[in-house]
């Protein structure tokens, strides 16, 4: 197989160094690198950035010809507007005040949203779906994000368009100047429902609610652990625990909204200190 070199065509010169050089299409030599599909930042990327900046500026200048920054009457601590609306990006949180007490909707939940967002890269162990858009390769992750995203934006839309006087529900065709009768809806804590339905004492009803609340988290934690072993094994204990706490809390928010809207449940768990 091997051809024995009998005669050196190109005798090496000890005073020179040699390298392998290949001819290829391009505008500059590439040293110690494989050929790659790159272009110079100037002008290719810089031009895109410049065009983007110009388009945004133009867009904004056109926009402000038609809409203007609002300015209401001078701040007056003695006149409370009804309804009081937070800026649109906080309307989701304001809407959550309907379903939860302020310490939870206004403080704990926003904190959990922020910390929960930060945990994403640490709990997502799926090595696939990096650098391109895909749903099929990371269905669960995309579902989770979309669910949270939807919750955020749906509550913003509700807060902006479907809430009126006294933060009551107003359809677009309702008369926005007439107060809704709040007596139409009576909110009850869940344990009262048990008291009425099962004819148990208040304390038993409360205990039942506590059990239900913890069962939700316990069963939620347990199901993937026992029945979706692959999911658990991929994450490991610590990641699994952190993820499930946030996941179940997020789903819990959705669940509470449904319970409140359909069954007029005010609280699930009632304690002397906090109600959820």
């Amino acid at each position: 197989m091997e051809n024995k070199v009998t005669r050196e065509i190109f005798p090496r010169d000890a005073r020179k160094s040699y390298g392998l050089v290949e001819l290829m299409k391009g505008s500059a030599p590439i040293v110690k690198k494989e050929p790659e599909d790159t272009v110079y930042t100037w002008p290719h990327l810089i031009m895109i950035e410049l065009i983007c900046a110009l388009l945004v500026t133009a867009g904004l200048i056109i926009l402000v010809q038609f809409v203007h920054a609002p300015l209401r009457s001078l701040a007056d601590p003695s006149t409370t507007p009804n309804p009081m609306r937070a800026p649109w990006y906080f309307l989701g949180l304001q809407e959550l005040l309907v379903y939860f007490d302020p310490w939870y909707a206004g403080v704990v939940l926003p904190g959990m949203i922020i910390v929960g967002l930060m945990t994403f890269p640490y709990v997502d162990t799926n090595p696939k779906g990096v650098g391109y858009y895909t749903f099929s390769e990371r269905k669960f992750a995309v579902f989770n994000y979309s669910f949270g995203f939807a919750l955020w934006w749906v509550t913003i839309v509700i807060g902006t368009y479907l809430r009126g006087l006294d933060w009551q529900w107003y359809w677009p065709w309702s008369d926005h100047l007439v107060h809704m009768n709040p007596a139409l809806v009576t909110l009850v804590p869940l344990h009262i429902v048990f008291v009425n339905l099962l004819h148990v004492s208040k304390d038993v009803g409360k205990a039942l609610c506590d059990v239900l609340f913890f069962a939700y988290f316990a069963i939620g934690m347990a199901i993937p652990y026992f029945f979706m072993r692959k999911f658990y094994d991929a994450m490991g204990g610590a990641r699994y625990f952190v993820f499930m706490i946030f996941f179940l809390s997020m789903m819990g928010v959705g669940l509470k909204i449904v319970l409140r809207l359909l069954f007029n449940i005010k609280y699930i768990v009632v304690t002397p200190w906090i109600n959820v």
Partner: protein, 253 residues
């Protein structure tokens, strides 16, 4: 002749002292222009063709940065006409609306660029999530990004108070009232009263410098909005960009 003039200009001592290299019309100068310029050197000299695809990034992060720059420029402009005093703030805004040349334009631009920035941070975050770009080795940069989102929201919200109209006053009253419900350190929060927190010493009092939104709240929000938060955002942005380069790519970009 034009060629001659260009030659003379780009070889002159003054031009060379500023730019250090000739026009970026050849590969060497295109490399120089990026890494010898403090503003451009956050870029790599060369980028992959695939990273330039508009339908991948949609320029969302870049647009967010640009809106922040625009907000800084219009914001500084507005500061020349604004007094953070409850007796004057509202009048200043009315002056901007009706008296000062370009006042309306600047205020409108500032307002809508702010809305835009909140929106585009969200969109950028969604894009990064959907392309899995937060995965190793870029985990921490995602965390920095979340911090930037939070700071953007607080920036926007602190600016909301400054016009001192009904909208501003009550939105901030509702928002800061929330702080008093913080567990342990708010007077209305669980275990707040038990731990000795009153309207005059809890977290809400610290935030607005009083028991109701007033002059102290205005000056606090003003300083946070115009100085503290923009500084924090700028530092966080520097980290955010630096780490894009230093952490390397998480995917086949």
């Amino acid at each position: 002749m034009l060629e001659n003039l260009k030659e003379k200009l780009t070889k002159s001592q003054v031009f060379r002292s500023i730019f250090r290299h000739g026009f970026p019309d050849n590969d060497m100068n295109r490399a120089y222009v990026v890494f010898s310029n403090v503003f451009l050197h956050i870029h790599p000299v060369k980028v992959r063709r695939s990273a330039l695809r508009m339908r991948y990034t949609f320029c969302l992060g870049g647009i967010t940065l640009f809106l922040f720059i625009m907000l800084t420029v219009t914001g500084i402009w507005l500061m020349f006409y604004y007094t953070p005093y409850t007796g004057l703030a509202y009048n200043n805004i009315q002056d901007l609306q009706f008296v000062i040349f370009g006042g309306n334009l600047m205020r409108d631009l500032h307002r809508f660029a702010a809305h835009g920035m909140v929106l585009f941070v969200w969109l950028h975050m969604t894009r990064v999530f959907m392309t899995g770009a937060y995965k190793a080795p870029r985990e921490f940069n995602w965390v920095v990004g979340v911090l930037l989102l939070v700071m953007t929201l607080i920036l926007s919200w602190t600016g909301y108070l400054l016009p001192w109209d009904q909208l501003a006053y009550w939105a901030v009253t509702v928002g800061t009232k929330m702080a008093s419900y913080t567990p342990f350190i708010g007077q209305n929060g669980p275990w707040g009263a038990q731990l000795g927190f009153l309207p005059t010493n809890d977290i809400m009092f610290m935030l607005i410098g009083g028991t109701v939104v007033g002059q102290n709240a205005l000056i606090r929000f003003y300083v946070l909005h115009c100085v503290v938060l923009p500084l924090f955002v700028t530092v966080a942005l520097a980290v955010h960009f630096w780490r894009i380069r230093k952490d390397g790519f998480s995917g086949p970009l």
